[in-house]
């Protein structure tokens, strides 16, 4: 190797680097979508902002398939960007709605996965030697199997509404917008899904039957 100049020191910086924020964070998500109509490159920033959130939602639903569906979700979103209406919906719920539609094409995989998780949770596990740790694990494991089984048993439309609420943390109105149904329909689907989930948990249910998440 030949050096024609002495390179600079690469030692640690004198002060620990601090968190930097996106300099061009000022454009809102909606503005980026709007700009991307004329300048498609603007859309890439939305991937940077939301990929992790969308993937997390997908991974909870379809496991490893989430890697592929993440890509599909953003490709669909990009192709449909002209139809996005910021006055109806923010971009994050819009993307989660598209992700939900993408998952719909893989409902069998999703259900199979929940059933496999339920079976897996039912098998005896090696919990190590720490009594406290094994107690926590056993408690969690006791819930994971029935929860997965409960999700497998829900109607797909009810499951979509429930998981957009629980994992997507969307409001009722947002769920209605992304599923394209009235808010009343969302309420009825959620009531049914939550009732069935509680029933499926049966004896292992740890929640307070009077504890309800506020209607949003």
């Amino acid at each position: 190797m030949t050096f024609t100049a002495v390179h600079r020191s690469a030692g640690p910086p004198p002060e620990p680097p601090r968190l930097r924020a996106l300099p061009d964070a000022a454009p809102t998500d909606a503005a980026l979508v709007a700009r991307s109509i004329d300048d498609p490159a603007e859309f890439a920033a939305l991937f940077d902002r939301h990929a992790t959130t969308v993937h997390r939602y997908l991974a909870r639903r379809v496991g490893d398939l989430a890697d592929d569906l993440l890509s599909e979700t953003f490709l669909v979103a990009f192709r449909r960007r002209a139809a996005y209406r910021p006055e109806h919906l923010e971009v994050r719920p819009w993307l989660l709605g598209i992700a939900t539609n993408v998952v719909r094409g893989h409902q069998r995989s999703e259900r199979r996965r929940y059933r496999a998780l339920a079976r897996e949770a039912g098998r005896p596990q090696d919990h190590g030697d720490d009594p406290a740790d094994s107690g926590d694990r056993l408690a969690a494991q006791a819930l994971r199997g029935p929860l997965a089984a409960a999700l497998a048993g829900l109607k797909p439309r009810d499951r979509d509404a429930l998981l957009l609420l629980a994992w997507g943390q969307l409001r009722y109105g947002e769920i209605a917008a992304v599923l394209d149904v009235p808010v009343g329909t969302v309420r009825s689907r959620l009531n049914r899904a939550r009732r069935q989930t509680r029933a499926a948990l049966g004896d292992v249910s740890p929640f307070d039957p009077t504890s309800e998440e506020d209607d949003r």
């Binding site: 390179h7 030692g11 601090r18 930097r20 924020a21 959130t53 910021p86």
Partner: protein, 356 residues
């Protein structure tokens, strides 16, 4: 606990988004965008060399490569892995043309731009991610338009008429992974000098026209270095662009811009409203398809790993990747085409400085 919380805490979960999966998904999106860009003839021209870089990046297995493409295999060195080395030369310091005097207290700057392009961005942020951005353009910048704008008009910045808009964003999640509600924002646009239009966009404490006017009046014609610098690059290669929100700088061959390398330093992922994971040296290296076992080494005295790897979709697409972590957790990488030797890659890495 209710059933929703139970679903969140004990419901099925999946593996977090890996750098490889993120890179592949982003590359697929960029390829789609590139295609759409060619179909719709966007107003902004595609930068030299980027078209090919984006194509070659399809399926690239690291986040470092994904933002700007990166690895292209071409030229005689690609088939000659002998460690004969390259001539490395010092790289001119990358700067933003303006500074703030006085510098804003408690704010961290970051910069975006590309070589030879008068468009550039400097962002100044508080730890919660709010702050302001300075956007420079050679042409007049139209004011923003959105459903949350509540006020607009004109104001003087240093005696020059400027247009402003202001409003309130109902919900804002910043890159610091902090989500805020009802955040004031403002934007001020004026021609600071002939052919130099400035747009100041601020939120939070800077979501106020008067605050932005004060920032505008503190701008001085004094170039300031960006935080991430490439100290060394092969002779005949030049810095193409930099995007510090992605923590990355692209460097390409002058003769063949499809041959490029990427330097990236990302700060430690913040905890907050949404899951973020910056990974580690080991995970970043493990995310690529190694052709040979990774080698443990040091960069700037810090533990590092370097690996000769292949794209997981195209085994013919080979590259070098070195990763190291700074004391505060910032993860840095250099990725080069295969024609480089391991010693070249490590020398380039040693030349990288990152001082936000």
């Amino acid at each position: 606990m209710n059933d929703l919380q139970l679903l969140r805490d004990a419901g099925p979960d999946g593996a977090p988004l890996s750098p490889a999966a993120r890179s592949a998904a982003r590359a697929a999106l960029l390829a789609e965008i590139e295609g759409a860009g060619m179909r719709t003839a966007p107003r902004r021209a595609v930068r030299k060399g980027r078209t090919v870089a984006l194509r070659t990046c399809l399926g690239a297995a690291t986040a470092a490569a994904a933002w700007a493409g990166a690895v292209a295999i071409a030229g005689p060195d690609a088939t000659d892995p002998a460690p004969r080395g390259m001539t490395l030369v010092a790289v001119d310091e990358i700067t933003f043309p303006l500074s703030l005097d006085p510098a804003p207290a408690g704010m961290t700057p970051s910069f975006t731009g590309s070589a030879g392009d008068p468009e550039a961005i400097a962002g100044y942020s508080f730890p919660d991610g709010t702050g302001f951005a300075i956007y420079l353009s050679p042409t007049e910048i139209p004011p923003g338009d959105g459903p949350h704008h509540t006020d607009s008009g004109t104001v003087a910045v240093g005696g020059v008429d400027a247009r402003y808009v202001a409003g309130v964003t109902p919900k804002l999640c910043t890159m610091a992974n902090v989500c805020l509600e009802d955040v004031p924002f403002a934007e001020v646009i004026w021609e600071r000098a002939p052919g130099q239009w400035v747009r100041l966009s601020g939120d939070g404490a800077h979501g106020d026209v008067a605050a932005l006017v004060a920032v505008g009046e503190s701008l001085v014609d004094r170039p300031q270095p960006i935080n991430l610098q490439v100290g060394l690059a092969p002779a005949g290669w030049s810095v193409v662009d930099w995007h510090e929100s992605s923590g990355a700088i692209g460097v390409a061959s002058d003769e063949d811009p499809t041959r490029s390398l990427t330097v990236q330093c990302m700060p430690e992922a913040p905890a907050g409203a949404t899951e973020m994971d910056n990974g580690s040296v080991e995970r970043r290296i493990a995310a690529v398809t190694a052709l040979d076992p990774p080698v443990t080494t040091t960069v700037g005295g810090r533990p590092a790993q370097v690996v000769h790897a292949a794209d997981y979709l195209d085994a013919e697409l080979r590259f070098w990747l070195v990763a190291w972590e700074l004391p505060d957790g910032a993860l840095c990488t250099v990725q080069t085409p295969e024609g480089f030797t391991r010693a070249d890659v490590l020398a380039i890495a040693e030349g990288v400085t990152y001082e936000p």
